[in-house]
Amino acid sequence: MTHDATLRLEVSNLSVTFPVGAATLPAVRDVSFTVAPGEVLGLVGESGSGKSVTLRSILGLTRRYGQIEGAVRWKGQDLLALNEPALRRVRGREIAMIFQEPMTALNPLLPVGLQITESLKAHTSLSRSERKARAIEMLDMVGIPAAASRLDNYPHQFSGGMRQRVMIAIALAVRPRLLLADEPTTALDVTIQAQILDLILALARDFDMGVILVTHDLGVVAQTCDRVAVMYAGRVVEEGSVRDVLRAPLHPYTIGLMRSVPQDVAPRSRLYTIPGTPPGLLHLPPGCAFEPRCPVSDVSCAVSRPDLASFGDGRRAACFRCEIRPAEGATAA
């Protein structure tokens, strides 16, 4: 399949700040990445690291509360330079988003079938009967049993997990070219999670849809994503192919994250934990934000901030002491 190069998302130097009293909270700092058509990029990091703010800022959704800087290029234009009506035409049609809290995004007063067909009416040229058929098809694809008979049901008549799946059905029904999914399966059982992730993967493959998948489950990353970006305190600290990053992480934070997972360790043995707690964003250390918790830091780390540097093969890491590790990783592999 030939890729349409304009369908590549380019986020450059994205920074987002929120006013907090008299201070300014830097939620996202200098984040850059790209997503090619059909590619699935994972975004991981601990709670509060800026994953959701990054995702929402791509569609300008944080403009109301905060200040966005940088550029988000899509189809040759900078989305952040668009005015609200122009942005709204992009949202939900070419770029769809699945939110972390599904209930806030469903209208409790409308039957779910209508919510899907209305979205299709607004964003596609499908006929009335095609819209209904698509709605049933999508509900069926996200694993709602007897989908055709549930079009007239209201959101409260579904369980929490089913509502999440209805959300996913609405987002995917318009066949978006780019999907921004914020923890789409975190609230779901592993069985349903597997179905939904397979559906997202199939759409990425068949319709060349790019995907950004925010998750805190490294297993989901391993099984679903092509590339992964790891965030810490508002910055991307490591990026690369899933295979490289999960097998031979470069950044000490990624290494700590991987080691905390109970995998290939003796049953009931003590697990590795990253010492300390994440820094408050209002009181970031002047040097590397991970320095207070880093087991391999040296004197320079507290003074200056490491840039996100390239390590070849689309591999990037922001750490002064990474240089020495690629060789180690290579011999271990």
């Binding site: 601990e46 709670s47 694993g143 709602i144 049993p145 369980s159 929490g160 997990g161 779901l188 059982d189 592993v190 069985t191 999670q193 597997a194 179905q195 992730l197 805190h216 489950d217 490294l218 297993g219 989901v220 391993a222 099984q223 679903t224 899933v242 295979r243 999960l246 097998r247 700590g256 994250l257 905390s260 997972v261 109970p262 995998q263 360790v265 049953p267 009931r268 003590r270 697990l271 590795y272 934990t273 990253i274 707690t277």
Partner: protein, 333 residues
């Protein structure tokens, strides 16, 4: 680790479903949610028993029955040989002290206006654990036990991170020197590295205090790591139970096998190796007859829809409830 501290026999619980006006007008029969359909289980002193299953299968209901927050509609629970629901036991405060439940959201169960020190002191006072003069020393000991800094005693719950609040809840549960801890999705909302801290804490406390733990969680990797034994629940019944490592390496019940294989592996090379579970978890309003799993089971026979399979011992020391274990095992060879 052999004498049972808690024996659950044929535990059943059905909740009546609130009837809508339409139901009343139509004189529809009273319906009920069958949350537990005959659970038999013994908790051995000093062990961790993991409980897994899809959402709505009855894990929390089982946990709530054990701490008497729900009254079963059938069956029994004996604690050291005493029926905990016998009329003369119902008001026995000692039982409440000896079996402690920790909730998923500690924030909502911690009084926001009381400092950590006051919360712990109250628990010590109510259950008359120690003389009033010893309370401050005991509070300091408890904070140390769960690795919170000493000055934590003066702070209100909102001043702590999610993981720290989880530890306050654990400290409060431990304050009254329980024998059994019930942990229902204790770490599910936490970051991987914080989860690891809490898991280490539980392993530690168990070794030091000879605690018995019932660990309910949907993260299968964590359950496998922390548990001695694991019970797999489907629609209010145990379908397989056994030694954790054995069960995770070689589950025999078709449902356990599907559930465990749906958990995403951390190894990107294992992509696409999942066996898929077809269909949806049936509603507990009408649990299928016979083996409740038969509507989704690839191995079902006519016998499966007619006859409830009993939990039968396996050669590996565990037990499973399936009519066709032997054939399925041979098929795999």
């Amino acid at each position: 680790m052999s004498d049972p501290v808690l024996e659950i026999r044929d535990l059943r619980l059905s909740f009546p479903v609130a009837r809508s006006l339409v139901d009343l007008i139509r004189r529809a029969p009273v319906r009920q949610v069958n949350a537990l359909n005959g659970v038999t289980l013994a908790l051995r002193r000093g062990e961790t028993l993991g409980v897994v299953g899809e959402s709505g299968c009855g894990k929390s209901t089982l946990a709530r029955c054990i701490v008497r927050l729900n009254a079963p509609t059938g069956g029994s629970i004996h604690f050291h040989g005493q029926d905990i629901f016998a009329p003369d036991q119902r008001h026995d405060r000692r039982f409440n002290r000896r079996v402690q439940m920790m909730f998923q959201d500690p924030y909502s169960s911690l009084n926001p206006r009381m400092t950590t020190g006051e919360i712990l002191a109250e628990a010590l006072r109510v259950h008359r654990i120690c003389p009033a003069g010893d309370i401050p020393a005991r509070v300091a000991e408890l904070l140390d036990l769960v690795r919170l800094p000493k000055d934590a005693a003066q702070k209100l719950p909102h001043a702590f991170s999610g993981g720290q609040r989880q530890r306050i809840a654990i400290a409060r549960a431990l304050a009254v020197e329980p024998e059994i801890l019930i942990a229902d999705e204790l770490v599910s909302a936490l970051d991987v590295s914080v989860q690891a801290q809490i898991v280490n804490l539980l392993l530690d406390l168990q070794a030091r205090l000879d605690l018995t733990i019932l660990f309910v969680a949907h993260d299968l990797r964590l359950v496998r790591h922390i548990s001695h034994r694991v019970a797999v629940i489907y629609l209010g019944r145990i379908v397989e139970i056994g030694d954790s490592e054995t069960l995770f390496k070689d589950p025999v019940h078709p449902y356990s096998r599907a559930l465990l294989s749906a958990a995403p592996s951390l190894d990107p090379a294992e992509r696409g190796n999942r066996t898929h579970l077809e269909g949806e978890l049936p509603s507990p309003l009408d649990v299928p007859g016979g083996c409740a799993f038969h509507v989704r089971c690839p191995h079902r026979s006519p016998r499966c829809s007619a006859e409830v399979p009993a939990l039968r011992p396996l050669a590996t020391g565990g037990a499973a409830a399936c009519h066709h274990i032997e054939e399925i095992a041979n098929e795999r060879l």
